[in-house]
């Protein structure tokens, strides 16, 4: 048994009333790659931020090489030997400076650094660091001229120049191609044998299969599974990350009815197989899959925000090629996007104006908006979908996440549409509101096709007549939502074993 480098004991962290970490216990050992898995909002990033000194824990303690570890800020964490490479590469490098300066940035900010920069010395040292990493680029080159993988390598090289005890890699392959990722894995292999403890955060099963020594799954702020016996139980890890405690929602799947939307041989990526899908009248389809499986891409294609590589769509038998959101909406295809704060909410408007925004035209007489009509329509929706508020004049910002989401969805129920797309409708929504929304979507499903895009299997089981699993931008499975073989479903979500996939 190798030596424990970093230990996390009973760490808790809350933001306001939101308990993000609910008592985490975790140990990372020298020469071992610990993979951390978790859906959006499981608390992974918060845990990382606690480890690298951005947040401090409310409760619990951290230890590094046997000594108490309480970093006061990110710089302190680094100087104690906990180094993090963040997901967004541009946080890691400064594009307008050359490679040498980027590699040596820490020397420039270190206390006691001289006033003037000795460029020649700087470059000589940088070359040493680059060589140690197997980097071949010219250190005088500007980082902005490099490709993504090289930039990532520089960010990692800089991290390694500090000879870390614990290296945290946050989704490092999300922008790398397969060969580039392989370079990174080779590097990780070297570090592992050099005795560095590595915490690797990823959703990609192909990465995880390649490098994991053990897998830790997180769910709702706690560790939901720990897998360290060889061979690793990958499906078990996915199951404990997504969770699928049977829900108490009873669904009788809709029987076959008239098709509304047909996708014919839609290709989302150059190298992915075509997708065929028929959405029928009155049916609720859940499209599920891990992050990067192509869910959101598919939603964007149907809503006209991006174009598929190949294939076509038909709506009610006629050709349907939306050029943008406007033409999709006028064809009767509505979408409630994910990330409501940045994509849906108009923070300056009240409930009624947020809700009626897409259809203001029908609340106008001649040129004048009818305030009364807007308020009457939204009052009705507030009642039927169950929005908790004082009046329709309340600012949207005064509502809870769940109620805001209800307003965003109610927006698209005001007028009859042909297709309703809901991209991650339960993001940041409490369980009560989630049930309300699901019930209302199912109750109003007649007369349109509904497609819900969710990562959590639970949510899919709660709302859908039919569940479609996407993996690597391809349909990996299809299930009628009745006596579902969950093991099979989970296996399809985590995907077959294959060589490192291309970047998505």
């Amino acid at each position: 048994m190798s030596q424990t480098i970093c230990e996390v004991r009973g760490v808790e962290k809350s933001f306001g009333s939101n308990r993000v970490l609910r008592g985490i216990d975790l140990a990372m050992r020298a020469g071992e790659v610990t993979v951390l898995m978790g859906a959006n909002g499981a608390g992974k990033s918060t845990l990382v931020k606690v480890l690298c000194g951005v947040h401090s824990a409310d409760k619990g303690e951290l230890a590094l090489a046997g000594n108490p570890y309480t970093p006061v800020d990110a710089a302190d964490a680094i100087s104690q030997g906990v180094v993090t490479v963040h997901q967004s590469i541009d946080d890691g490098v400064i594009p307008d400076l050359d490679v040498a300066t980027n590699l040596m940035l820490d020397k420039l900010t270190a206390p006691g650094a001289g006033l003037f920069v000795n460029d020649r010395k700087l470059r000589a040292e940088a070359r040493k660091v680059a060589e140690a990493m197997g980097l071949t680029m010219n250190v005088r080159q500007l980082v902005s001229e490099l490709d993504v993988a090289d930039r990532q390598m520089i960010a990692i090289a800089r991290a390694l120049a500090r000879s870390p005890k614990l290296l945290i890699l946050d989704e490092p392959t999300s922008s790398l191609s397969a060969t580039e990722a392989e370079r990174l894995f080779a590097l990780i292999d070297r570090l592992r044998s050099a005795g560095v403890a590595i915490l690797y955060i990823s959703h990609r099963m192909s990465d995880i299969r390649r490098i994991a020594d053990r897998i830790v799954s997180m769910r709702d702020g706690s560790i939901s599974g720990l897998f360290d016996t060889q061979p690793l139980d990958y499906e078990g890890a996915v199951t404990s990350m997504l969770g699928h405690a049977m829900t108490d929602v009873d669904i009788t799947p809709a029987t076959n009815s008239a098709p509304i939307l047909c996708l014919k041989a839609i290709k989302l990526r150059e190298d992915s197989p075509p997708i065929d899908l028929v959405a029928n009248d009155g049916e609720v389809i859940a499209v599920t899959g891990l992050l990067g499986s192509g869910k959101s891409q598919l939603a964007e294609v149907i809503f006209g925000l991006s174009r598929p590589i190949a294939g076509k769509m038909e709506l009610d038998g006629g050709s349907y090629q939306p050029a943008n959101a406007k033409s999709a909406v006028s064809a009767g295809v509505f979408m409630s996007p994910k990330d409501r704060a940045s994509n849906a909410v108009i923070p300056d408007f009240d409930i009624a104006n947020n809700m009626t925004l897409p259809f203001l035209g029908s609340f106008s007489r001649y040129y004048k908006l009818s305030d009364q009509k807007q308020r009457r329509a939204s009052e009705e929706m507030i009642g039927s979908i169950g929005i908790v508020c004082q009046s329709n004049r309340d600012g949207i910002g005064t509502l809870s996440g769940g109620n805001q989401q209800k307003v965003m969805i109610a927006r698209w129920l005001l007028k009859p549409g042909r297709v309703l797309l809901l991209d991650e409708p339960f993001q940041g929504v409490d369980i009560g509101a989630r049930r309300d929304i699901g019930r209302h979507i199912r109750a109003t499903a007649k007369g349109r096709a509904t497609i819900v895009f969710v990562a959590e299997i639970d949510e899919a089981l709660e709302i859908a007549d039919r569940i479609i699993v996407l993996n690597e931008a391809a349909i990996a499975g299809e299930h009628i939502n009745q006596n579902i073989d969950l093991a099979k479903l989970v296996a399809e979500v985590s995907g077959p074993s294959r060589s490192p996939a291309l970047a998505g």
């Binding site: 959101a325 940045s342 300056d348 408007f349 009240d350 035209g361 040129y367 600012g395 949207i396």
Partner: protein, 338 residues
């Protein structure tokens, strides 16, 4: 709780109370301030600035900014003089020419911002420089006046048409003979039109939505680019209206006039944020903001404050209004405003 209510009242009515207070103070302190003539004088002094400010307001609504309005107005001033004095066109053609020029500049501004992705401040700043230069090229940097000597030695034969000067100089009878000047009428009409458009049509509502969250507006099917271009075209046209009124009042194409138009009108639009606690651009607030500055300057002038204190006073009012808007509003819990 009680504190919060006082705060809310202060945010909502504070600026109007301040305005009323200033009016009362000047009425008592400065003889002749509280008279129809004086009131009309205030209105006349803010009419052109106010019209430009309403244009800026429409760009502020879509979270943009138009720095070129001042130079559009002076270009329109020079163009109208050039059109009548040198090209000898009629008043109608001249007015149409100026309005078209304004719309065109707005269109170019809008396209630069929407299609070329130039940030709004930079695009309109560039346009401002371009127009300041352009308006001087045809006359080689000279002002245009009736009977001026042209570069080729001949004398310009055109004159300002009487109908054109009427726009700037006519006064309607109201209580007193020849009281109400035409530019004030235009200002009030434009103010009401912009107020109705921004506040009570779906187009205005969508423009506010774009200003608040452009991405969300786009995803409900709003043609964001078209509305943004529209906002800059409104701004351009209103600025050219301001220029026409200025030319008609001056009766000559004076290259030195209109220097203050940009800053004064932006100030009016920003002061408008504070009116009724709107905390966002709005036509009513802009009109009140313009009036506020006008009343303050008129009062100070009648109390013999020297002319060079004017900019200082305007600046102080603007800073106070911005504090009202941003500091006080941020302390209030965020409530929906539409």
């Amino acid at each position: 709780m009680n504190n919060e209510r006082i705060l809310n009242l202060a945010i909502r009515y504070g600026f109007l109370v301040l305005l009323a207070g200033i009016v009362m103070y000047f009425s008592l302190a400065a003889e002749g301030f509280a008279s129809p003539r004086s009131a009309v004088f205030v209105l006349q002094s803010v009419a052109i600035t106010g019209i430009l400010a309403l244009g800026v307001t429409s760009t502020l609504v879509v979270d943009g900014f138009d720095l070129s309005i001042g130079s559009v107005a002076t270009s329109s001033l020079m163009l109208s003089a050039y059109s009548m004095v040198i090209l000898e066109y009629s008043a109608l053609v001249t007015v149409l020419l100026c309005l078209t020029m304004g719309a065109l500049v707005g269109l170019v501004n809008g396209l630069l911002i929407v299609k070329m992705r130039v940030p709004d401040l930079l695009a309109t700043l560039g346009m401002m420089f371009l127009l300041i230069g352009l308006q001087r090229i045809p006359t080689q940097g000279n002002s245009i006046a009736t009977g001026m000597r042209l570069p080729d030695g001949s004398i310009a034969e055109g004159t300002f048409a009487a109908e054109f000067l009427w726009i700037g100089r006519h006064r309607f009878d109201m209580f007193i003979e020849k009281l109400f000047p035409m530019p004030v009428v235009v200002f009030l009409l434009v103010a009401v039109a912009v107020w109705l458009f921004l506040g009570f049509t779906r187009h205005g509502r969508l423009m506010y939505a774009i200003g608040s969250n452009q991405r969300a507006a786009e995803l409900v099917g709003t043609n964001v680019s078209r509305y943004k271009v529209l906002a800059y075209m409104i701004s351009g046209v209103l600025a050219s209206v301001g220029g026409i009124l200025l030319a008609a009042r001056l009766g000559r194409g004076d290259i030195a006039s209109g220097n203050n138009l940009l800053l004064d009108s932006v100030a009016a639009a920003l002061i408008g944020f504070a009116v009724l606690g709107a905390a966002r651009p709005n036509a009513f607030g802009t009109a009140i903001g313009a009036l506020f500055v006008g009343i303050l300057l008129q009062g100070l002038t009648m109390m013999n404050a020297p002319y060079y204190t004017q900019d200082f006073v305007k600046g102080a009012v603007l800073v106070a209004a911005l504090v009202f808007t941003f500091y006080l509003s941020s302390r209030r819990s965020s409530a929906g405003r539409h």
